[in-house]
């Protein structure tokens, strides 16, 4: 386990920072919101990310990947958080691409992965059926008719679900088995309703009424568990980046805002609170680094991977919530104005906190996977 970025990761971090600072400053996100963008991301930025190889990072060469390893996503998502950059990287590449890679037949892989990597096919994962993450609560059913699969059900919260080219839908094949099904845009019996969220990104509800689907692989439980863990680690890294951005803005504000003739950062009560936020940030970073290490480690026990990923998402959630609240409070009035960027970061934290498992979810999951810790 390595808890600092190696040279390759550091290079990725630097290039991600330079690219996002230049092409995806927060103003881009603000404009997407003000223009009520239906996709919630900027196509040019997404193109730029692909040009930098971000969509290929973790895949094998035979499907067009770079074989860099999954840990490459730690610096990338961290920087996406820092710059508040929206993109379909998580939905289309990490989650959908990951499922195809792990479960798809040779043919499906060859057909889908290069297209996903190239951005010719943008896919979104249709999993959640309730307002909080419950990956086991799947009521959407898949049935076989005339040799083909048809899906019935409703997915409430499909991230990046609007205007996607395809969706991977998690559905129950029978009482004990979950499957993953590919549904293409325009399929009969498929309808989507956009949802406007506080982070102004792309979210949709989906109704499936006998929608035609192609099954990807077989029993999904294991692969889904792993792919969701990858997604959780990416969200932890994003939250870490968001938190660091908020923290840096706040420390800078404490140093420059003058009240009563002195910088407010000289007030000891604020100093101690800032110091405690720094502590939280460091604990969150260590946990996130460990989660990525666990995901890179082929030999790791499943329970240990789960435990470390849940630790990371739990801690990143807590850290982001606490830092965003304190950032607003320490900024005072200006922090609650829409004009200032802080609120945009705050709003993003809550979506990312809730996605793929809120704080209590991961606390409970950690407990369930604890037994091997000392084994």
């Amino acid at each position: 386990m390595n808890l600092v970025y190696n040279e390759d990761q550091q290079q990725l971090l630097d290039s991600a920072r330079d690219f996002l600072a230049a092409k995806s400053p927060v103003s881009v996100q603000r404009r997407l919101r003000d223009e009520a963008s239906s996709s919630g991301f900027c196509p040019q930025v997404w193109q730029g990310m692909r040009d930098l190889g971000w969509s290929a990072v973790a895949f094998e060469e035979k499907v067009g990947g770079l074989e860099f390893g999954f840990a490459g996503y730690a610096p990338i998502f961290e920087q996406m958080g820092r710059h508040l950059a929206a993109s379909p990287l998580l939905s289309s590449i990490v989650l959908c691409g990951g499922l195809v890679e792990l479960m798809g037949s040779e043919e499906q892989q060859q057909q889908l992965l290069p297209a996903l990597i190239a951005g010719e096919l943008r896919a979104a994962l249709a999993l959640e059926e309730s307002e909080r993450h419950q990956p086991d609560l799947i009521k959407t059913r898949a049935r076989m008719e005339q040799g083909g699969w048809l899906l019935d059900g409703r997915k409430e919260w499909v991230a990046d679900g609007n205007e996607a080219d395809a969706w991977l839908v998690v559905a129950a094949v029978d009482a004990n088995e979950l499957g993953v099904f590919l549904v293409h845009a325009g399929a009969k019996g498929l309808s989507l309703e956009p949802r406007t969220m506080i982070d102004a990104r792309n979210m949709a509800a989906m109704t499936l009424q006998g929608a035609k689907a192609e099954r990807i692989g077989g029993c999904a439980a294991e692969a889904l568990d792993l792919v969701l863990d990858r997604g959780r680690a990416c969200l932890a890294a994003e939250l870490l980046g968001v938190s660091e951005a908020l923290f840096d803005m706040t420390v800078e504000y404490l140093k420059t805002r003058v009240q009563f003739g002195v910088p407010i950062g000289s007030f000891q009560a604020l100093q101690h609170r800032a110091a405690r936020l720094y502590v939280e940030l460091q604990l969150a970073r260590s946990s996130t680094m460990a989660a990525f290490s666990a995901l890179e480690n082929q030999a790791i026990e499943v329970n240990e991977r789960r435990r470390l990923v849940s630790l990371a998402k739990w801690k990143a959630n807590i850290c982001a919530q606490r830092i965003s609240n304190e950032a607003v409070q320490m900024h005072g009035g200006i922090g609650v104005t829409d004009e200032y960027d802080l609120g945009l970061f705050l709003k993003r934290t809550r979506l990312a906190q809730n996605q793929l498992g809120h704080t209590d979810f991961h606390c409970a999951r950690y407990a369930c996977n604890l037994s091997t810790k000392n084994a």
Partner: protein, 396 residues
Amino acid sequence: MSDIDDFRKQTRAWLEANCPESMRTPMPSDEMVWGGQNLEFKHDDQRLWFERMRDKGWFCPDWPEAYGGGGLNAQQVAVLESEMRRLHCRPPQINLGIWMLGPVLLESASDAQKERFLPPMARGEVRWCQGFSEPNAGSDLASLRTSAVLDGDDYIVNGTKIWTSYGNKSDWMYALVRTGPMEPKQAGISLILLDMHAPGVSVSPIDLISGKSSFCQVFFDNVRVPKDQLIGEVNQGWALGKALLQHERRAMSKFSEFALPTHFDLHTYLESFLSEPTTSADQALHQRAIACLMDEEAYSLTNRRIGDTMRVRQDASGLMAISKLVHSEQERDKFELLLEILGNKALGWSGDGFLERELELTGSWLMSFAQTIAGGSSEVQLNVIAKRVLGLPDAK
């Protein structure tokens, strides 16, 4: 029967006869009546209740009758308030002028000023807003820079005020301005009254993270203010401003007492969304919500204790000093919990797919961040408790 018992009996009878039934129900925020030049009523009962209370002088029951008040003594005011509470009477109007500026004018204005400003205020004819904060003078109010320079019989006012509630809907403003030199800071400040329709005044509502807001920034560009609209002595306005803030705090607590119990009753949400927690994650969330409810009840008992304490004429200043801090933080914490309970349902901004109360919850959550900052930030409250209540020494 003593005089006060007699007064209670009469008051109760009058309220029962004159307060319309519909004015004895909880008041949604969009049914508040704001006194002012542009009075608006949603229905006749509101107007009836407004006019009857106005004619009794009971918008400001403790003011002298000469200025349009009710002329009641403190004991009678307490009786009136308790009887109104008993019947759940809504306040007939909301008026910052009466609650905050009025008492200061009664204490410190000239007779001519009192005669000019108090009676229309007592009739609910003027809507007042407050001009204290400035972009660079937040918690450090005394560093304000809006200037008022004497030119003949007028002050020429230049500068800007921020966080002025309903600045765009108000008729007049009471403002702290700098009439003297910068140092020492408090010594050069005066309290003036100015007409929001005067030339050179412009108002921009401020967008908050929660969306549109009632807060405004007000700009003054060579606004002429006759010098007889300065209250008290020149450069002695700081003390008046502090007195005003005291009244503001009292008014705020009165306001929250009258206001409808928040739409966002955690208990109700808990019953709807988490009544039978099954997963251990849900149980943990449930427990945290219960703890939050318990703290809410401890706070509401503390508010009752303030009343009980004052009733026996004991010092309630320590309890009053914690009230805003506790309430605003509990509200924010409650909304944070509601967000976790409702998940994505509480993270919508607009449009289909969300119930109105869900969108309202999201807005109220975002607005709750402003509540721990506005009207004396939590940090200022903690300073006040530490120094005035606990007597801890100043730094250096």
